[in-house]
Amino acid sequence: MKKIIKYVIIDILRNKIMLAYTLFLLLISLSVFNLEDNSAKGLLSLLNIILIIVPLVSILFSAIYIYNSAEFLELLVSQPLKRKTIWLSVFVGLAGSLALAFFVGAGIPILLYEATATGIMMLGIGLILSVIFVAIAMLAAVKTRDKAKGIGVTILLWLYFSLLFDGLVLFLLFQFADYPMEKAMVGISTLNPIDLSRILILLKMDVSALMGYTGAIFKNFFGTQIGVALSFIILLLWIVIPTWLSLRKFNRKDL
């Protein structure tokens, strides 16, 4: 397993796109922290990057990588190796290298300029989001055989998680404005890892505004130790469940 992980990581790190992604993150985070006069505002700009760019790059890059290494996977399967080992190694390799790229590109500037609780939270969430979207991409890639279709699906998934889902929630909110939706909202937000991540950061960033009546409910849930722990468990489930589903599919797949 170690050998395959090593091979995958080396293969990815040699990839120019990965290097470009790291440099892009580094450039943006450094300029964001240097341009704004207070670094809290820089963190805010960075939030949008983490919530939009990181999932997009993770999901697209992983999907394309899986499709491009289809022949390599076939070769590995023909060797005396378990399919489970192969698939998990590819996952660990992809997740590890994308997390590493995020850590170098955005994590180091965050630690340098804004090593506060908010900053650390953002760093942790960026890492988890990278991994979650690798898992989702692998599930999408293993489900669709056609490359073009598969990439289309991943783009749609990204669009859904970062934009359509919120639009849907907003629509629901307006439709049910007369009903107490606060508690339901807490439940709904767990259905989208990007939303959940955003709320966790919001609780560190806009705590004064969140202390309003509705906010107090969110705060009571997400703001406590148990709430934060629970949110992280849910985020971890967002990694585990897609990975498990894709693994099951890969085990039975006729390559």
Binding site: N38, A40, K41, L44, L47, N48, L51, I52, S162, L163, D166, G167, V169, L170, L173, F174, A177, M181, E182, M185, S189, I194, D195, R198, I199, I201, L202, M205, D206, S208, A209, L210, M211, G212, Y213, T214, G215, A216, F218
Partner: protein, 411 residues
């Protein structure tokens, strides 16, 4: 002439002898305060030594100096009003007043001033009292450097720290109030000043103002109170150099202004409140040189407000700068610094060339549908805000700062 000179010292001495000092304590003639007061003449000093005095209700009905040495304890045994002042010109200084009675029918207080003038209450410590210092129909009294602490758990079963009712020309200076229902309470109080007080951790308001005109409060600190500070139904109030901090909750405001007119608010600092200032039915107010930092809403200005002049203020790090509930705007915003302003300054006069609209689309949405807060800072919400900036539809057209500053003011 010589005879007169000989008599003169005696006249002086007799003056001083006349105002004698009566000591109260275990080793002295009087061991009871009430007896000492009965034995005292107008202008005498009753000097109380350290000890615990349980004398039910001490009534002072002569103009005396009532002074404690090293904070003698006056204990109301949770049954009585501790000290009642019923005469002009009494000075009470240096006592520790504890455990006043609690009642829902009578307003028991640690120290209560009844219908008199020129009373001075200073340097006292009040601990676990129902009302702390209570003045009714008092004139020209000074309440200075007292420390009041109570342990309120329910609003109904707790009183106010410094409570003034139907009074005039009061001076409330350098007191520290905590744990009461309202820290400082003013009702029908005119021409008075509240200066250098600290009011924190109170159940309801740090300062509560009702029907009180022509008052000033200057350089006070109001921190972490249940609902902040409320100023209601008053006019000609001046609020200068105060600190409003960490008042958190849906109905908590740094400063709540309701039905206020002709007032002046300057050089205050609003930090980390859910809402810095909430205004309702407020008119003819000048607000200048204030700082709004890290609040949920810097300012909530309802459409029922008019002729509010907001100038030369800093808005830094607030989640929302200004919130409102309608499209009618009869107020002016000018020459403020907004940290969210992203305009440009081509002629380098340090004033932005395009107006700033402090009300964001999303703050209007949250005003109508509070749970939408959960989507705040999402891609969707940002997108809505950006489109609104280009073509304003929901946000009030006239709520804008025509001359936003490019650099924060040093306040």
């Amino acid at each position: 002439m010589r005879k007169l000179l000989n008599i003169l010292p005696f006249i002086f001495v007799s003056f001083f002898v006349h105002a004698k000092t009566i000591k109260v304590g275990k080793l002295h003639e009087y061991t009871s305060i009430q007896q000492a007061i009965t034995g005292a003449q107008a202008g005498d000093t009753v000097l109380v030594e350290t000890g615990v005095y349980k004398e039910k209700n001490i009534v002072i009905s002569k103009p005396i100096y009532f002074i404690g040495l090293n904070f003698p304890v006056l204990d109301g045994e949770s049954k009585y009003e501790v000290v009642s002042i019923k005469c002009n010109g009494v000075v009470i200084d240096g006592f520790k007043v504890i455990h006043s009675g609690v009642s829902s029918i009578e307003d028991f207080a640690g120290i209560k001033i009844y219908n008199c003038r020129d009373v001075v209450v200073k340097n006292n410590i009040l601990d676990d009292t129902f009302f702390g210092i209570y003045a009714q129909q008092a004139t020209n009294c000074t309440i200075e450097k007292n420390t009041l602490k109570a342990y309120a758990e329910q609003e109904q079963q707790s009183g106010n720290g410094i409570h003034c009712w139907k009074s005039d020309s009061m001076k409330i200076i350098a007191n520290t109030v905590s744990g009461h229902r309202d820290g400082i309470y003013f009702e029908f109080v005119t021409n008075s000043i509240i200066w250098r007080n600290t009011s924190f951790n109170n159940m309801r308001y740090g300062l509560h103002f009702m029907f009180s005109n022509n008052d000033s409060y200057i350089t006070n600190i109001f921190k972490n109170n249940g609902a902040g500070v409320a100023v209601m139904f008053s006019n000609h109030v001046k609020m200068i150099h105060n600190y409003f901090e960490e008042n958190w909750g849906d109905a908590a405001y740094g400063l709540l202004l309701k039905e206020i007119s002709d007032s002046y608010i300057s050089n205050n600092r609003f930090t980390k409140n859910t809402t810095g200032i909430h205004m309702e039915g407020t008119s003819r107010i000048v607000m200048e040189n204030n700082v709004f930092e890290n609040n949920g809403w810097g300012l909530k200005i309802q459409a029922s407000c008019m002729e509010i002049n907001l100038i030369n203020s800093n808005f830094i790090g607030n989640t929302f700068d200004v919130g409102t509930n309608g499209s009618l705007v009869l107020n002016t915003f000018n020459n403020n610094y907004w940290d969210k302003y992203d305009g440009y300054d081509l002629n380098k006069d340090k004033i932005g060339d395009v107006p700033y609209r402090p009300v964001s689309m999303y703050s209007m949405i949250i005003e109508q549908t509070p749970p939408a807060m959960i989507l705040f800072r999402s891609f969707m919400a940002t997108l809505l805000d950006k489109t609104e900036k280009i073509i304003p539809t929901l946000t009030p057209e006239n709520l804008k700062d025509d001359n936003p500053l490019m650099k924060p003011l040093s306040l």
